[in-house]
C-alpha cells in the first residue's frame, strides 16, 4: 500500500523539517508548502490525505487556505497548527470546519496519532 500523503503548510522552515521527520517516521509521505498560494497549488495537484495548516502566515493566512480547501473538499482532515491552545482564532477555525489542532509545544508524536485516527475515519467514510 502506498504511503499516504500529508500536506504541511508552515512559514517556518525548521518546523517543517521537524514535522516532516516525525511524519515520515510514522510512515507518511510529506509534501510541504511555505505560504498560502503554494498550499492551494499543492493541495490541487498532490491530492493529499490530510492537511496540517499553520494559522499565522504572511500573505494568505491559514484561515483563508482552509476556506479555499473547504470549497472544493469538505471531508478532508485539516489540522490547524498553532502556538497557543486557547485562541480566538480557534473558534474561527472551527467555523470553517477544521478537524483539530496541533499545538506546537505539545508532544508531536501524540498529536500525529490524532491525525492518523482522523485520516482513518475519513477513509472509512469514503469507503462506504
Amino acid at each position: 500500500m502506498a504511503k499516504r500523503k500529508i500536506l504541511v503548510v508552515d512559514d517556518e522552515i525548521d518546523f517543517l523539517e521537524m514535522i516532516r521527520l516525525r511524519l515520515e517516521a510514522n510512515n507518511y509521505s510529506v509534501i510541504t508548502a511555505m505560504d498560502g498560494n503554494e498550499a492551494i497549488e499543492k493541495f490541487k495537484t498532490e491530492n493529499p490525505a490530510a492537511v496540517l495548516l499553520d494559522i499565522l502566515m504572511p500573505g494568505m493566512d491559514g484561515l483563508d487556505v482552509l476556506k479555499k480547501i473547504r470549497q472544493t473538499n469538505s471531508k478532508i482532515p485539516v489540522f490547524i497548527i498553532t502556538a497557543f491552545s486557547n485562541e480566538e482564532r480557534f473558534k474561527l477555525a472551527n467555523k470553517f470546519n477544521a478537524s483539530g489542532f496541533i499545538v506546537k509545544t505539545n508532544d508531536l508524536q501524540r498529536e500525529i496519532q490524532n491525525i492518523t485516527t482522523a485520516i482513518g475515519i475519513s477513509e472509512d467514510f469514503k469507503g462506504r
Binding site: 517556518e12 525548521d14 518546523f15 521537524m18 514535522i19 521527520l21 516525525r22 517516521a25 499565522l56 502556538a83 497557543f84 486557547n86 506546537k104 509545544t105 508532544d107 508531536l108 508524536q109
Partner: protein, 554 residues
Amino acid sequence: MKNRSTNKKVKSHTAANLFITLLFVVFITDVVTNVITDAFRLSILPESIVDGFLVILLAYPSLYMLIFRPLSREIAQRKATEKELRRLAAIVESSDDAIIGKTLDGRIVTWNRGAEKIYGYTADEIKGKPISFLAPSERFNEIPKLIDKVRHGESIEHYETIRRRKNGEMIDVSLTISPIRDASGNITGASTISRDITEHKISEELLRRAKEQAELLFRISPSAIFTLDSKMRITEWNDRATEITGYSKEEAIGKVCTMFEAFLCSKECAVHKITDIKPVFGEECPIRTKDGRTLTILKNTGRLKDKNSNTIGIIESFSDITERTRIEKLKDEFISTVSHELRTPLSITKEGISLVLDKIPGPVNEQQAKILTVSKNNVDRLARIINSLLDISRIESGKIEVRKEAFEVISVIRQVLAAFELKTKEKSLTLRADLPKEGIIIHGDMDAITQVLTNLIGNSYKFTGKGFIEVKAKDKGDAVEISVADTGIGIAKENIPKLFNKFQQFGRVTGPGEKGTGLGLAIAKGIVTAHKGRIWAESESGKGTKITFTLPKI
C-alpha cells in the same frame, strides 16, 4: 381638665357667697322687721314706711350683685394669679437652662435647678455669692461691663463666654441677661439665663474640621473632583479637573453636564432623573479635552444626600489613566507576541530532541539519551513558564475569560486526581479524596478550575516527600469549598502572606523532577478571584500545607 376644676371651684365660691348672703338677708330682714314693727307699734311710722321695707327687700338682689359678686370675683382672680406665679416658678425651676437672679451689685439671689445642673452648686451654696464666683479669672473683667449695661436698661442676648463649674471644669455658655424692674419701673436687679453650649461648640468644631478637611482634599487630591446639583449642573470643580480637561473652573461651573462637551462618557448625565442614577465605581471611559484630545479616565461617583436621604446631587472623582492604559496594552501585546515568538523555536528544539530520543535518525547510546532527556525536560519547563506568564498577564490585565458554563465539579476533581495517581504511586505518596457522593453543579470555567486543581495538587506532589495528599470538597449551600492538604515541607509562617504573589518559590526542590515557575498559586488565585471565590492557605513549616478555595455555585 384644668378649666373644669376651675369652674367647679368658682361654683363652690358662689354657693358659699349665696349662703352668706342668705344669712345676711335673714339677719337684716329680722332687724328691719323688728325695727319697723316696733316703730309701727309706737305709731311713729306711717304705713308708707312699711311699704319701704318691702322695697328694701326687693332691692337686696341688686345689692348682692353690686357688692358680693365683685368681691368674690376679685378673690378668685388673686388666687389664679398666685397659681400662675407658682406655675412660672415651676417652669423656671424645671428649665434646663440656668436661670439666675442677681442684684445690681452682682450678688446671686435666685438659683434654679438648671443652674445647679450646669454649674454644680446648689442654691444654698451659691446664694449671696458674687456672680464673678462662676467666672474663670481671665473672664472677671467682663462682669462689671455686663452689669453696667443692664443697669442702663439694656438687655444682652446670646453672649458666648466661658464659665467654671464647681468641679473646676470649664464650660462654654451662652448668656442672655435682662434687667429686673420693680412695680414703678426702677431697675432692681438682673436675670441671667445661661445655656451650656459645650456640646454645641464641640460639634461646631468637628463640623469646621470636617469642612476644612473636605476643602483641603478637594484642593490637593491627585484626582479630578467635581460636584453636580440636582439639575445636573456643575457646582464645584477642582484644579486637577481643570488640568485634565483643560476647562477652567469658571468655564465648568453652572454648565449642565450633558451639555458639557468634555464628557463623552456621560453615563451619569444621560440619565435625566437624578434619583435613577446608580453610583459607579472604577468605570473606565473616554473624555474629550478642551483642546480636542481623547483621554481615558477612571471614575467613581457617589450621591450627595440631604438629611432625609434624598439625592440632591452627585460627586464624581476621576483620574487620567490614558498613559496607564496605553502601557498596559503595550505590555499585553508584548507578552503575547514574545510568547508566540518564543514558542515556535521552543517547539522546534523540543521536537528535534524528541526525534533523536525516539531514535528516528538512528541509534542513541544511554549517556546521549540521558543528556537529551534533561534537555527536553528543560525545554518543557521553558514552555510552562511561557504559558504561565501568558496566563498571569491575562489575569492581571483582567482579560481572563471566565466562561460561565454549568459543570459538575466533583467529577472534575476525580479526573485531576486520576491524572496524579500514577505519579504519586511512584513517589509512594497516598492520594486521598474526601468527596461528596452526589455531584455538585457549579457555573464557571471548567478548564480554568481544572488548572487550579492541577496547580494545587501539583504543588503538594512537588513538596511532599512522604505521607499523603488529601483533596476534600464540601457543599456549602451556595458555594463549594475545596481543599488540598499535604504532609509536605510546609511554609514558614512569615511566608504565608507572600504565598500567592508572583514568582514566589518557597522551599525550592532540588534534584530531578518538574521545576516550578513560581506562578502556579498566583494563577490559581487569579482564577478563583475571577470566579468571585476565595482562596487561602494554612501551613506550618515541616508539617504540611492546606490550601482551600471556594467557588460560588452561580
